[in-house]
Structure formats: structure tokens, C-alpha cells
């Protein structure tokens, strides 16, 4: 599967990662190489095979739906690049 710079721009947008224009061509080549290499999986017949969801073959544990933790606003905000009045601060999103 060949990836072109336009696809790199699209995927980078989906992933919310800025890719400088001068890197788009080299990334397109690298991604094409990697995806071309993984294409060998198509040699393997997987008709009727269930996709693995859990390697440990276990059932997810259930617990009572009750609050077990909380009241840690200061801990949670302690690492924020910008916080005010007990909230995270982001650039204005509505005018």
C-alpha cells in the first residue's frame, strides 16, 4: 500500500500531530515501506479465525459500582501547564 504526502497530511491531522511539510515526503516513503512489509500477512489464510481480544483468556473482573477514590483536584491540577480557579485552561474555543 503506497502512502503519498497527502495521506500523511490527512493521517497527521486525524492524529493531531503537526508534521512539517519538509518531513511529509520522507514519512510517506517510510510508511509505504512499513505497510508494504506488513502486507505479507495477506499470505496467511485467516478465514474463520477470531481476532484476539484478550491474551490472558480471562473474563474481565467486575466490582461494585461505587466511588473508591476522589477529592484529588489539587493532585490532578498539579501538573497542568495552566490551571485557574480549579480548572484546566485552554485557548478560547467559543467567541
Amino acid at each position: 500500500m503506497a502512502v503519498d504526502p497527502e495521506t500523511v497530511r490527512h493521517v497527521a491531522r486525524l492524529a493531531r500531530v503537526r508534521i512539517e511539510p519538509e518531513q511529509q515526503q520522507s514519512l510517506a516513503t517510510e510508511l509505504s515501506n512499513i505497510l508494504g512489509w506488513v502486507d505479507q500477512l495477506n499470505e496467511l489464510d485467516t478465514e474463520g479465525v477470531a481476532p484476539m481480544t484478550s491474551v490472558a483468556q480471562m473474563r474481565l473482573k467486575m466490582r461494585k459500582d461505587e466511588v473508591t477514590d476522589g477529592n484529588r483536584r489539587e493532585d490532578i491540577l498539579a501538573n497542568a501547564p495552566e490551571a485557574k480557579h480549579g480548572f484546566f485552561v485552554v485557548p478560547r474555543v467559543v467567541d
Binding site: 497527521a12 492524529a15 493531531r16 514519512l27 505497510l35 505479507q40 496467511l44 479465525v49 481476532p51 485552554v90
Partner: protein, 493 residues
């Protein structure tokens, strides 16, 4: 002083227990060794003061008769583990300044057992890499050198700083994490023991997530016995990780009986790959001879889908990574771009500035294979292949008890040799990825030297939750190999 850093973890533990050395003496010797090993760049942060405080507390506990199984043992902690009040970076620029308000379960277990933290070990950014060159803090170096050649070599990755520190006698042991080989490959490259336990054996709580269905913590030490003791302290069920398994943790040290008579050891034909250096094949054959001499029975087995494990891994791991790394948004913790004018730009700029080249590459691959129109062709296909890989192992374990294979297709390579060639770098994981996809316990044991004088490891893979057989066999191989070679660089010498 240097003598103390040459002890094995278990020998140091025994000396402390007998009162022949204090935790503070042992820790001080290692703090000096960490300082003396700075040329290796094995640590992102040295926590010397904290180490001495923890050692003092350890001596106090011992005086009160409350000693734990790792009382006073100084360790390096891979910087992927969150440590309360100590900056935790995952070797990424995007976690600049992040100081966790909580402790990972594995490190909490180690401190409860009495261990002491020397510092946070260098690694590939977000554990993505096989050479430790993808670190925002610069590459860590391998303390080994080729005979008659002082070109710097990589320690392997992603747990490269951990492996380097343990090999250079700057720590008695270190934590690592293994997603596709990140404990075993650096252990092999640095001539130490590294074990990835069964998926679910150790809690992932507080370990910065890379690929959640694969990530598993494990010990990196200089002997198999050290690994057994350290793993026991790390492991255990944790309500904070729903994939940690609620099953008793055995006394792994007691499993080291030295007796593998009658054990059936599978030799998987598919691990003999084209272009593999002849010396790796020779080492493997040597391993077969050792286990045979110890009374075990080598059995040829086939894991027919082995060749498809690596490409499946390089879909599944980036897919999970792209989801896990969505949390780095410049809003809640870590780096935030100063350039952004609106929210969209804040995300894109922050992540563009904060992630390194390999991390971006994998986030893009992951996003691509999960995107509309490709999800079935790539991601679901890879998950089906993963089912088949696990089935291969299940079939093999019907007739054998443990598998023996090389750990890596080569000895350590030079700094800069593969960094511009992602595919060649990925091929380093060809022998370690299959057990990761199947969630099986696996260990690398130093077994011999390459023609150029570099360490090479052999790998044992066991049934799920049968770490004991893996460790027992590893102990026998370790004795047979008698690997007593030392790296060119020893801390403080």
C-alpha cells in the same frame, strides 16, 4: 566499596540479612557507582538523596526486625514507571516536568519489600525502540565494546539504561518493561539476565502505557536467582489493573532446583532464519547440548506462523500506541506549545514538538491502520494472526515443557548504525515478539561471546504462568554457560 557493587542482588541481600553490611553502606557504594557511570548516560535522573533516605529507613526497619525480602537492595527504575514526587519522563519531551502524584504498583511493591531507588533509567521514548537512541535525553551506551575497537555500541532497547546500569555494576538490579522484546533484547546485548513474565503477572498500573495488550514489567539482573527474587517482589494482583491476574505468586527462588531431568525442551525450527550469523546458530546448538547434558530432552517443534509475528506486532503495537498516546494534549500535564492560537493548534503543535521521530512514525501508522477503510484490512487481520501465533505456542506446549531459542539475531550494534532504517531496527525483535503476542513468560540468559567479544543471550519461553519452569531451566543453562565475562566499562573503575 567496589566490592559491594560486584555482589549479586541475592548475595547482597544475604549479607544485609547477616548484618555484615548495612543498607546505607551498600547504597552509598552504588550511589558512587551511578556517579562513576555517567559516561554511559544510563540514568535520566539520579535520586541519590532519596536513595540514602530510603537506605536509612531500611536499616531502621531491619533493626526493628521488620525486614522485607529485598531489604536494603539498591535498584534502578526504568523511567516508564511513575514514581511519586520524582519526575517521570518516559524519555519524552512531551512529559517535561511531569511529577506523578502517585506510585506505580510495581515500584510500590518493591519499596514495600525494602528496596532502595538509585534513579530513573534511560530508555527509548515511550519504550518505542530497540537501541535506546530514541531518548529525548540522548542515547544510553553499552558498557561492552568489541574486542580491539572502542566504537560506542547501543545497549539495546527499550530498557537500555536499565541493562547498561546493571551490566556496569551501577545497580544490583533494574526494572524493565517488555512490549515486544524491550527487556530481553537489551539484556542479551549487555550480557545480563532479563525476564518478561506472563502477561498479567505484574500490574501495569502507573506504568506509562505503550501497547496495553502487550506491556509487561519484569526484572533485569546479573543472575537468574536475582531475577527470581526480584520478580516475586514485583508481581501480584492489583485491583487497579483489571488485566492483572488474581493468582498466587509462587516462591520463584524455590523453583531453582537445578534439576531438569526428563524435561522436554522444544527447539522451534522456524527460529532459524535466513541471514542469521553463524555464531548465533552455534550458540543455540551449544544451549541444546547443555540442556541435554543436564538430563533434559530436546524435541524439534514447529511454530509454523512465526514469520508473521513481527509484521502483526508492527500493526497491533502502533495501533494501541496511537490510542494510548492520545492523552498527551498539552492540557493536563507535560509540555505545552507556546505557539498555539486555538485548541486545534494547541494539540497539533504540542504533539508535533513533544514527540520524537519514531513516536510520530508509530502514532501515524497506528492512526492509519485504525482509520476508516483500513481497520479490517490491517488491524483486524493482525489480531487474527495474533490468534494463530498463540495457537502455535499452545500446540507446541502439548508436547514440550519449555522452548529454547536465540534472543536476538545479532550481538549489539554500533550507535547510529540502524537509526535511519526503521525496518532493520524492527527486525531486532524477530525472536522476542512471538512470545509477547502470546503473552508467555520468557527469559534471556547470557550464554556466550560473539567472535568480536560481545555477549549473546539464549531465550527460554514457557507456558502461561509457568515462570517456574522457565527459571529452573534458565538456572541450569546459566550454570552450564558459566558466563563470567565482564564489560569493558565497570562503574567507578
Amino acid at each position: 566499596m567496589t566490592e559491594l557493587t560486584d555482589l549479586t542482588l541475592t548475595a547482597a541481600r544475604d549479607r544485609i540479612a547477616r548484618g555484615e553490611v548495612s543498607a546505607q553502606e551498600l547504597t552509598e557504594a552504588h550511589v558512587r557507582a551511578v556517579e562513576g557511570a555517567r559516561d554511559l548516560n544510563a540514568f535520566i535522573a539520579e535520586t541519590s538523596e532519596l536513595a540514602m533516605d530510603m537506605a536509612k529507613a531500611s536499616d531502621d526497619r531491619r533493626a526493628r526486625g521488620e525486614a522485607g525480602p529485598l531489604e536494603g537492595v539498591p535498584l534502578a527504575i526504568k523511567d516508564l514507571f511513575c514514581t511519586k514526587g520524582v519526575q517521570s519522563t518516559a524519555a519524552s519531551h512531551i512529559l517535561d516536568g511531569f511529577t506523578p502524584p502517585y506510585e506505580s504498583t510495581v515500584t510500590a511493591n518493591l519499596w514495600k519489600a525494602g528496596a532502595v531507588m538509585l534513579g530513573k533509567a534511560n530508555m527509548d521514548e515511550f519504550a518505542m525502540g530497540s537501541s535506546n537512541e530514541n531518548s529525548h535525553y540522548g542515547a544510553a551506551r553499552n558498557p561492552w565494546q568489541r574486542r580491539g575497537d572502542n566504537k560506542p555500541l547501543v545497549p539495546g532497547g527499550s530498557s537500555g539504561g536499565s541493562a547498561s546500569a546493571v551490566a556496569a555494576r551501577a545497580a544490583l538490579g533494574a526494572t524493565g518493561t517488555d512490549t515486544g522484546g524491550s527487556i530481553r533484547q537489551p539484556a542479551s546485548f549487555c550480557g545480563i539476565v532479563g525476564m518478561k513474565p506472563t502477561y498479567g503477572r505484574c500490574s501495569r498500573f502507573g506504568i506509562v502505557a505503550f501497547a496495553s495488550s502487550l506491556d509487561q514489567a519484569g526484572p533485569m539482573t546479573r543472575t537468574v536467582r536475582d531475577a527470581a527474587v526480584m520478580l516475586r517482589a514485583m508481581a501480584g494482583h492489583d485491583p487497579n489493573d483489571s488485566t492483572s491476574v488474581d493468582t498466587p505468586v509462587p516462591d520463584f527462588e524455590a523453583a531453582l532446583t537445578g534439576d531438569i531431568r526428563g524435561l522436554r525442551v522444544g527447539i522451534p525450527a522456524e527460529y532459524s532464519v535466513e541471514g542469521m550469523p553463524e555464531e548465533i546458530g552455534r550458540l543455540w546448538q551449544q544451549g541444546v547440548d547443555w540442556i541435554k547434558a543436564a538430563g533434559a530432552e530436546p524435541v524439534e517443534v514447529s511454530l509454523p506462523r512465526t514469520a508473521y509475528a513481527l509484521p502483526a506486532y508492527y500493526i497491533i503495537a502502533p495501533a494501541e500506541a496511537s490510542a494510548n498516546l492520545a492523552r498527551y494534549d498539552g492540557v493536563r500535564f507535560g509540555h505545552r506549545s507556546a505557539e498555539a492560537r486555538d485548541l486545534q493548534e494547541l494539540y497539533e503543535q504540542t504533539r508535533g514538538e513533544g514527540f520524537g521521530t519514531e513516536v510520530k512514525r508509530r502514532v501515524l501508522i497506528g492512526t492509519y491502520v485504525l482509520s476508516a477503510g483500513y481497520y479490517d484490512a490491517y488491524y483486524n487481520k493482525a489480531r487474527k494472526v495474533r490468534t494463530l501465533i498463540a495457537e502455535d505456542f499452545r500446540n507446541a506446549f502439548e508436547s514440550v515443557d519449555v522452548l529454547l531459542a536465540p534472543t536476538t539475531p545479532s550481538a549489539a550494534f554500533g550507535v547510529g548504525e540502524l537509526v535511519d532504517d526503521p525496518l532493520s531496527m524492527y527486525l531486532n525483535d524477530v525472536f522476542t515478539v512471538p512470545a509477547s503476542l502470546a503473552g508467555l513468560p520468557s527469559i534471556s540468559v547470557p550464554a556466550g561471546l560473539s567472535d568480536t567479544g560481545l555477549p549473546m543471550g539464549l531465550q527460554l519461553i514457557g507456558r502461561a504462568f509457568d515462570e517456574e519452569t522457565v527459571l529452573r531451566t534458565a538456572g541450569v543453562m546459566e550454570d552450564a554457560a558459566g558466563f563470567d565475562h565482564r564489560p569493558a566499562f565497570i562503574a567507578g573503575r
